[in-house]
Amino acid sequence: MGRIVLKKVTKSFGETNVIPPLDLEIEDGEFVVFVGPSGCGKSTLLRLIAGLEDVTSGNIEIDGTDATAAPPAKRRLAMVFQSYALYPHMTVRKNIAFPMKMAGMPEDEQKRRIDSAAKALNLTDYLDRRPGQLSGGQRQRVAIGRAIVREPAAFLFDEPLSNLDAALRVGMRLEISELHERLATTMIYVTHDQVEAMTMADKIVVLRAGHIEQVGSPLTLYREPRNLFVAGFIGSPKMNLIEGNAAAQHGAHAIGIRPEHIEVSDQSGEWQGTVMVSEHLGSDTFFHVQDTGLAETMTVRASGEVGFKHGDTIFMTPRADQLHRFGKDGLRLP
């Protein structure tokens, strides 16, 4: 079980108010991702749930009981840190055993769980090594192993992949997703990488300056961003945001169109511009277009290889059904 409810939670450091009153419900078994730019309060929020920071006001409920004043150890949560936070003087086996030892679990049960975790995480051959003798990916697996043996109510991940190189990151992303499928335990995952958020989450919580900007499934956020901030934050490459006349024609203060929702042509189209940079990925081609009179740079995505070069004139037509309209207050218009 791992249902976590935040009620009117606030956090201040001295005079600085990091989290204004915030409400959030996390259902049992959900994979929830907190995403936002650095300094948005997502790590603080996670640490409040973990109990590593005390809330200034408000309540945190875990499985229906008030855990606001409970110390971290009593919350039945396991955390995986960005720095892995392994105990350097202990072997992998002892690292994984530590939470069980603290819980006073019988030795044979500890051994059984260590062996099964090590097998699941490909650590069997490394159990007698120290963390210093492992690669980054292996260390991260040990940290995950240490978290799963306790069978916690929920897992908390604080940017666990940001110290890994790109290839490893993709691999570990899959492993964590698989782990979630297998254990079906609540997971709360903090990241600044919206790709991680989109690929892993059941539910994404977009944060800015401690405020929740939007909560929803990845596709809801992609299809119906609630405001300009979410529109600009979710999706890669970023949504093109256009103000002025072009927006006014659609009866909005600003319009947004994703790069993949623009048709390109060398003959004719609604908008016109000059290709500054073209990025060929093979499967797709990205064009960065200037001199459109709409926004400083427009990004367009075309499938496959399309042959525009630097300096070519390009015509662009937005797909009308994919146009997002925003009012003067930044909120989405119906």
Partner: protein, 276 residues
């Protein structure tokens, strides 16, 4: 690209390194050699290296003239005593500065270090007078107090840099793993802090052992440690190089042996933080 090192360069470096090493070690070697000479051979010109009549007579004379063991015990008590008291004060101090830094922590650290910038002779007279008035002159307790105060900034700085290297994440991980404060201290903090404390202890024992200014100025005989014992052999009656050397050798031998066996720990202590 890795820099290529030719065998010739390697030879040159090896020779230069050995040369510098011997140069640094030479005074100690010379002291030891001289301690086995007669007084006449000790001041012979040109100096003799190995071709002299080896004698242990100086050691016998030194032992007869003064009680080596008495001074040795004084050194042990002063060096160990001041270091242990210093650690007892410095561990909590460095701990709080590393893990609960306040707005002025950096300034306090700098201020403590600044006390080491003043030449000790600047405070000799006031400290001498205070010691005289409270009856601490030539007492072991008096010297322990002075040595503690003198080395405290260094002890705190060393421990502070050590403790700061212990990542807070690891302590938080232990908390998440269900460790109580007591368990956190026993299983996580202590094993991680002990190497640092050990290096600090070693270095400060050596510093206190070798300290000569205060020990010579504040003692006569009762509390005089080995430094004062050496100094007593450069007497106004004339220089007795061989006996002085014998006394020096006896004084530095214990610390040299400790240093030799703990060099790995010491080097780690001195370069900690600088090299990762």
């Amino acid at each position: 690209m890795a820099r290529a090192i030719t065998p010739r360069q390697k030879w040159t470096f090896t020779l230069v390194a050995w040369g510098i090493g011997l140069l640094i070690f030479f005074p100690i070697l010379w002291t030891i050699l001289t301690s086995f000479k007669t007084e006449a051979q000790a001041i012979a010109d040109p100096p003799v290296f190995f071709a002299f009549d080896w004698t242990t007579e100086n050691y016998t004379t030194v032992q007869e003239r003064s009680n080596y063991f008495h001074h040795f015990m004084n050194s042990v008590i002063i060096a160990l005593g001041s270091t242990l008291i210093g650690l007892a004060i410095a561990i909590p101090a460095a701990w709080s500065m590393a893990f609960q830094p306040a707005r002025r922590t950096k300034d306090i650290l700098m201020w403590m270090l600044s006390t080491k910038m003043l030449p000790p002779v600047g405070v000799l007279v006031p400290i001498y007078l205070i010691f005289r008035d409270v009856g601490l002159l030539d007492t072991r307790i008096g010297l322990v107090i002075v040595m503690t105060l003198i080395n405290l900034p260094i002890i705190i700085w060393m421990l502070f840099t050590y403790f700061r290297e212990i990542p807070v994440d690891i302590l938080e991980a232990a908390r998440m793993d269900g460790a109580t404060l007591r368990e956190e201290i026993i299983y996580i903090l202590t094993p991680m802090a002990v190497p640092g404390i050990a290096s600090t202890l070693l270095l400060n024992v050596i510093l206190a052992w070798n300290e000569a200014f205060w020990t010579i100025n504040l003692t006569a005989d009762d509390a005089a440690p080995l430094t004062a014992f050496i100094a007593s052999y450069s007497s106004p009656e004339g220089l007795f190089y061989a006996k002085l050397s014998a006394a020096s050798t006896m004084a530095i031998a214990p610390i040299l042996i400790i240093g030799w066996f703990s060099q790995k720990q010491l080097v780690r202590g001195l370069t900690f933080g600088a090299v990762k």
